[in-house]
Symmetry: C2
Subunit: 693 residues, 2 copies
Amino acid sequence: MDSVPYIALVAAAAGLALAAYFFGVVKRADPGTPRMVELMEAIQQGARAFLRREYSWVSGFVVIMAVLIFAFLDYGRPWGAIAYVAGAVLSALAGFIGMTVATLANARTTQAARSGPQTALPLAFRGGAVMGFSVAGLALFGLAASYLVFVEWLEVDDAFQVVTAFGLGASSIALFSRVGGGIYTKAADVGADLVGKVEAGIPEDDPRNPATVADNVGDNVGDVAGMGADLFESYAGSIIAPIALAAFAFTFSPVLQERALLFPLAVGAFGMAASIIGAFTVQTAANATARDLARSLHRGTNVAALITIVLAFVFGWVFFGDVDAVENWWGFPVAVVAGLLVGTGIGFVSEFYTSDHYGPVKKIAQQSETGPATTILGGLSAGMSSVASAVVLIVVAVLVAYWAANEAVPGEDITGIYGIALAAIGMLATTGVVVSVDAYGPIADNAGGIAEMAHLPPEVREVTDSLDSLGNTTAAVAKGFAVGSAAVTALALFKAFEQAILVEGDVLSLDVGQVDTFAGLFLGAMLPFLFAALTIDAVGRAANKMIEEVRRQFREIPGLREGAEGAVPEYARCVDISTQAALREMLVPGGLAVAVPLVIGFVSVDALGGFLAGALVTGFALAIFMANAGGAWDNAKKYIEAGNHGGKGSEPHKAAVVGDTVGDPFKDTAGPSMNILIKVMTIVSLIFASAFV
Amino acid sequence: MDSVPYIALVAAAAGLALAAYFFGVVKRADPGTPRMVELMEAIQQGARAFLRREYSWVSGFVVIMAVLIFAFLDYGRPWGAIAYVAGAVLSALAGFIGMTVATLANARTTQAARSGPQTALPLAFRGGAVMGFSVAGLALFGLAASYLVFVEWLEVDDAFQVVTAFGLGASSIALFSRVGGGIYTKAADVGADLVGKVEAGIPEDDPRNPATVADNVGDNVGDVAGMGADLFESYAGSIIAPIALAAFAFTFSPVLQERALLFPLAVGAFGMAASIIGAFTVQTAANATARDLARSLHRGTNVAALITIVLAFVFGWVFFGDVDAVENWWGFPVAVVAGLLVGTGIGFVSEFYTSDHYGPVKKIAQQSETGPATTILGGLSAGMSSVASAVVLIVVAVLVAYWAANEAVPGEDITGIYGIALAAIGMLATTGVVVSVDAYGPIADNAGGIAEMAHLPPEVREVTDSLDSLGNTTAAVAKGFAVGSAAVTALALFKAFEQAILVEGDVLSLDVGQVDTFAGLFLGAMLPFLFAALTIDAVGRAANKMIEEVRRQFREIPGLREGAEGAVPEYARCVDISTQAALREMLVPGGLAVAVPLVIGFVSVDALGGFLAGALVTGFALAIFMANAGGAWDNAKKYIEAGNHGGKGSEPHKAAVVGDTVGDPFKDTAGPSMNILIKVMTIVSLIFASAFV
């Protein structure tokens, strides 16, 4: 068993090597005409400038938190603070790498699209895969290395708290990247659309629109860098949760405890292997249809999932088959597989509610015939309905994992919770390939933008559009994994928090019949609503600034609207406005997520317990609601644009555009931020548990 | 102390006498021209027909539930089933009386409006007061009588469970009245608006629109009868909760227990007296301005509240001043007053977010300049923000009431919960006058409709409009009381449920760290979203049927659109369609509210405990969110219609109309149904507690 952390390191290195290889493939591809290169570089510069400034703001926050951890918490001082910074740095690095390759792959995908989808799809996918495997590789590397350094070499006291601090570092970056990136991308998108399409009457991505570069930058900083940091954090969190629980559980059997501590790293390692194999199955024939393309991407995730299921049982037998304290070794792999299957199930729920192949989107498109009000109501109710199936699936995963782990080692509640944590890791075991498929979407989206701005023939845009709409569906699946694992991981971390309080000699009352726990539950259920309101408002304010700037340029730059020769918009000004607005606006919601649990925790740990439970269940419900309502509106609009209900420019289309605009901050700002919100609050509580008591 | 139930009966009789007196005043008023009488009668017939059919459907449900209670529950058989039916009948009666007087008062208010607002306002208010005092009088009468019959005369075993069954009867009617009435009113409203205003280009309430009578019927069955049954249930529930808790608590001191059992009835009695005095202060001078009118209505509630506060301390001293087991008698009245003040506070929060005197509505009106999408986002985020203040206020009420009651009788957790129940009763002590002010709104609204349909001069419509817009704000205050008390009452009933399980010899684990409780919490948090989706969809489907019928009439009745002589629309067909659709659509959501807690309870009581807690906190948050978002959109539209941002017919106005239409099912169907949803589920669980174990 001593070799497990090294095996995890090797798997991480293999993932990173694959990322490097794909990076080379992308870099060598033809970036296209000088105009395309120019646009690509403008997007690159904008995205880099934003990330540089974002990271420099956030590093201030990271320093403060590191000092707090150093000052308030005595575990393994100074290692907790150091692990925290390491988690933050690796998470930021994952986002940066993803953004870098995405801004190289966009123009190259456009160029490849000139030879058809069968050339463009693998290129865009490989661009996405660089991020996918960087995220999973860096996270697995960081955790395996932390384990070796803190647990085995230095034998630090409270080593598992130190590993948790690594997770908090990752969460801190993820929180601000998701919120800041989400505000950036939607401020630019909404601002560009409202003035461009509505007022000036020019199409999306038209080079005359000054906000168009900012819009494309937004895809990279929000959907790529933000998502990368988010999934780094999710993946790391899902491995940390069972490790933290194993440290409290299984104290009655040192052999079992060691195996239980190492099993999560093993799942990470074989999940990585499965993802690598899955990634290589994404190939398309020369005469591929849209259906073939979709099948090709799905094949990648399905192959990886199947291999993971088989290996879960193999490794489960190797780890637990010969341990006396274990009655049924299959209990632990069943928990892993339950997570994986439910993750896929939630992905399917998202697909059902947001793809135009199914009823809900078709119904919203139909409702657009009676105007924007019915379109909005249709999307809201579709999003709210989707909460029911997703919650039922999560509850099934939780109950099955709990039951299975208790079959393995009967009698202890904490064993069941360890099983729940394994379900979370099962959901994210194939992160490498899942993120690859997800990150492919914004690259295809950007490729379309460049095709439009560089005045390429319409056939090229058609190819990139087909890739893009495919990306919307595959992204829904990835979001299902992300949000599902967030709920399950937060539940496991929540139990780890309870244990941490117990270890400090205090008993946490999570009885919601107690008045302080109930008050906490109530406040916790409220916070996601407040957080959503703050982020939606932030997008609105930032978009307004963008609108003013675009109007100013159309007014002051002669000939811009008409597209006269030599009338060049000042793209950089718009990029700058989005950057500043996003950074300013992310501080309040981001700060709240960290400050509120600290304040409540120092007042009453019981209230904090209730608070975390309330925020978890309501935050999950709002995350699913907003993501699926937003996705449904988006695809209802695309469905109409494909020629249904009157097609582009018709009254139903206008109504659908309203739905899409409302959905933008839902699905790309407020919704995805919920995942991190609930996890950051739980992990902050876990880290500061000893300080509260 | 033996006289307390009789005093409560006298107070109830006084309330009912006042209602009868006001009924006479309204009835004697001039109903206006023959055309007005004809319209009034059409509305009356439609409303009666709906209530008759609704009650006959619901009576089937009531019979089934009565049989279930009789069969499954052995307490005081057959008294539980009888009390259940009595609660249902009185609740239905309260709704019926309110509806009857409202459909008499509407045309009379129109007629009075011809002499100016100072004549019309008192008449409309008195119409509302008939319902307000019928609701409070019947509820107080029913509870005092139940107490006398079951507790003192028959000395039934489990008498407090029997009284709770009375509450469940009231809740059953309230649930279906709110959901069915809410679907009816919004289906008619949305259907009439979409075809009338948008397609046919005729103004609201134009007599050529076949759906216009159905629209006015809707105001009476939804906003009046539905609201009446709702507040009957809230008021009854708020008195039952402390009685049920007192039965479990204070067993160590028979004197204290008797006082604690009777104090809630005393609060009901003196609250009624205060309300009667408050109602008589609503008078207006001959030359009253809009400001004076508003002040006059506010005076009614404020006077009643002040008297209630003083009497709470007087009665608190009388009841608890000489009881040995009580350390500080002021603890109990402080709990009552905390509830009353927080109810007012939540009312103010609603007013702040939904009145055009404050920032949020002005901001939404401003956002309508950039189109419907930003209008929608503005309303959603205002609604979500308002959740924060309302939750903080509720938490304050809960904590203060808990603390104060524990100051009165230290050491017992259940005492604190009794205090929380007293806070709920404090919120609703002045129900008589609060409901009067609320029910005044739909009467004024109907009066405007009749003025329009009867082709009265525009000055009349101006007067009724000024009364109506005033009604929107005062209704917000009433909604604040209703939703706040729902949350606090549900919490108290939830604790009574815990006690009922304990009494059965089982221990309820409400520890959300336990996997089954947590699974319940998660499912509970999901249900309000599903319920909202179902009711919003129901409105959409019903509105669509209405749209088809209106289109058909415009197509098939020659000269209707042009308003030719002799071209009369078939109003009754539209009324019929709304009726059928509302009845069919209310079954699934209404049935869910009763069936889901029963199913979960028979599987696991721990899961049911978590489920109720999750549904309570999320349901409250959604209720506040939807009510305030809807109210804000409505008043943003009215603010624009008053001449701001371009006024009626401008692009911002069109955007605001979209917001208003989205808000309709939010504020009048899904939002208000949440209050009852959470209470019905809790009270069903409480009643069936012994069957679950």
